[in-house]
Amino acid sequence: MKRIFALMVVALLLAGCAPKPYWTLTDQKNHTVTSTSFEFGVSDGWVRTTEPRTWERLEIDGAQRTILLESMTVTRDGTGLQAMTITRRYPDTAFPTIKKKSVPTQLAPEVADLYVAELRKRTGLERLAVLSNKPAKIDGKPGFQLVMQYKNEDGLRIQIVSYGFADKTGFYTLTYRAPYLYYYERDLKVFNDLVGSFHQLKGAFDPPPEIPGWAKIFT
């Protein structure tokens, strides 16, 4: 009996140690995805990251740096086929590779230009083409809607649509990327619904977090 009890205790302890799954399937109980500073809705059958990503490693001027952010990803068939990513970047590191900050007074097309320059520089995709750049409202805030495209090495056209805005809490982007062939059009409505459901939370106005101690070692 004692042994069974001990085993149960061990099993419970191990269960407590089990990490959360990276992806969570969306069903009727968890349509709304809540992060620290934003919230948005996801359709049934889609999967999304369970926890927000809070940092990334970037090469800037040949050196690796840790950049804080808040980012969640949604997909249905895998991120290679469709990826919807909602990201908040902090004002001082809004455009880290081109070393530009976001300022609330920046106009939407100015923010869009910086964003595209950041994407091109970061990915080395010089040929990333901007197909359209229009004013848009995201959670009632003035922003941009960019449609971009590039061809990968197999000649497959990849289309990206990004909504974005900057305010005093940082720079936000809601991005959908998919092969133009078949997937892009098919899942665009899901993305538009996601954009329509997006809103900021009070957590966005909290002070930015510190870089974790371990990350400072590399920075």
């Binding site: 081109i98 530009k100 106009l107 939407a108 097309p109 100015e110 230009d113 595209v116 320059a117 950041e118 091109r120 520089k121 010089e126 040929r127 901007v130 197909l131 359209s132 750049n133 229009k134 004013p135 590039y150 061809k151 990968n152 090495e153 197999d154 000649g155």
Partner: protein, 378 residues
């Protein structure tokens, strides 16, 4: 009886011996250059393989949209190549490569890629001839193959599974050995002179690179590689050209007229990837900017905005005004001036410029919606 722990050592010895034997086989002896177009049909098996792999890489570049589509400029550059190497007409094919890096590269199958950034920076046909002469020499002298053989990596390729095509291009971009580069410099220069171009233009090519390296704080220059270093090659070209009296074909006007759209597009692309130092480098210096269309001043204004130093807002306004005066049909300038005056509270002028922009910009201009939005809010 051998003990088992000796087996790995034995295997390693055999592997080492085999590697040495293979390395011994890898020699540049017997690699003969192409004498004429007919020679390209008489390749050894290993060369044929490289040729086909290079063709496959051509396809990849084309498929992935990395080849810059500008028929007039492509035909013009091809014409200069054919003038330099008439015996290879139809065997050396020039492509424009959609990148603003100052670069060019030749592949083993005779494909020569010239980056639009390089085309934008050059001032005349003579400089283009120097560049093409150099790159085509890499092909004719089979430098790609020599590099591979002399690196003794032919067998390594098969083992690592690294596609040659990719490495071939990288090799070309990252440069060849000091000797091969010197050979390409000298033989390319000979061709340039023989075709009647002004030899005093050749060294300027390297001067642009040296300027760019300094402006962009680049540690190792690309194109033609860093071996021998740029200053040495500038001096070498000057020494070579000193043997000639000078004079010869320049074709400055023709070159700049044909390259005008590419020059403007290269500035746009530089701004689009935040390479504002490069734009300031060429457009701030009158001796360089005179080879660019006047609408280039719009991009100079954009570059100052990106740099954002103490006096840059005033400099940006001055550049946009210059673009307005010298290129009055260039729509983006008016959008920028509209935004500038809107931000500084001058609604009347802002409205005027937005109206101008909407009148001049194409109906499908990407940022038309913003001008309409701002007009209605003023």
């Amino acid at each position: 009886m051998p003990t088992t722990n000796k087996q790995p050592l034995l295997r390693a010895s055999w592997a080492l011996l085999l590697a040495l034997l293979l390395a011994g086989c890898a020699t540049t002896e017997g690699v003969s250059s192409f004498k004429s177009a007919d020679d390209t049909g008489n390749l050894r098996e290993s060369e044929q393989r490289l040729w086909h792999e290079a063709e496959s890489y051509d396809d990849t570049l084309e498929r992935s949209g990395q080849v810059y589509d500008q028929a007039r400029a492509t035909a013009y550059v091809q014409g200069v190549m054919d003038r330099l190497f008439p015996e290879f007409k139809g065997k050396i094919t020039v492509h424009l490569y959609d990148s603003t890096d100052l670069n060019a590269f030749a592949m083993f199958n005779g494909s020569v890629y010239v980056n639009i950034g390089m085309l934008a920076r050059m001032e005349n046909e003579a400089q283009l001839a120097a560049l093409l002469g150099h790159e085509a020499t890499h092909f004719i002298e089979k430098h790609g193959f020599q590099k591979r053989v002399s690196a003794k990596n032919a067998s390594a390729f098969a083992e690592t599974g690294v596609p040659f095509s990719r490495l071939a291009a990288v090799s070309s971009i990252s440069g060849f050995s000091r000797d091969l580069e010197r050979e390409a410099d000298a033989k390319g220069f000979e061709r340039m002179v023989k075709a009647g171009y002004d030899p005093r233009e050749a060294h300027k090519l390297f001067q642009y690179l040296a300027d760019e390296v300094q402006a962009l704080h680049i540690e190792a220059p690309y194109f033609f590689s860093s071996h021998p270093d740029l200053s040495e090659r500038i001096e070498e070209y000057k020494r070579l050209s000193a043997q000639y009296k000078g004079g010869g074909r320049l074709e400055t006007e023709t070159y700049n007229a044909i390259m005008a759209p590419i020059k403007l597009d290269a500035l746009r692309k530089d701004i689009g990837q935040d390479r504002y130092e490069s734009v300031i480098l060429v457009m701030e210096d009158g001796s360089k900017s005179r080879y660019y269309p006047p609408a280039g001043y719009y991009y100079l204004g954009e570059a100052y905005t990106r740099r954002d130093q103490k006096n840059d807002p005033a400099k940006a306004l001055e550049a946009w005004k210059k673009a307005e005066r010298q290129a009055p049909k260039f729509a983006p300038t008016y959008m920028r001036l509209g935004v500038y005056y809107m931000k500084s509270g001058n609604k009347k002028l802002a409205r005027h410029y937005f109206q101008q922009y909407l009148g001049l910009a194409p109906k499908d201009a990407t940022d038309r919606g913003y001008a309409q939005q701002y007009m209605s809010s003023l």
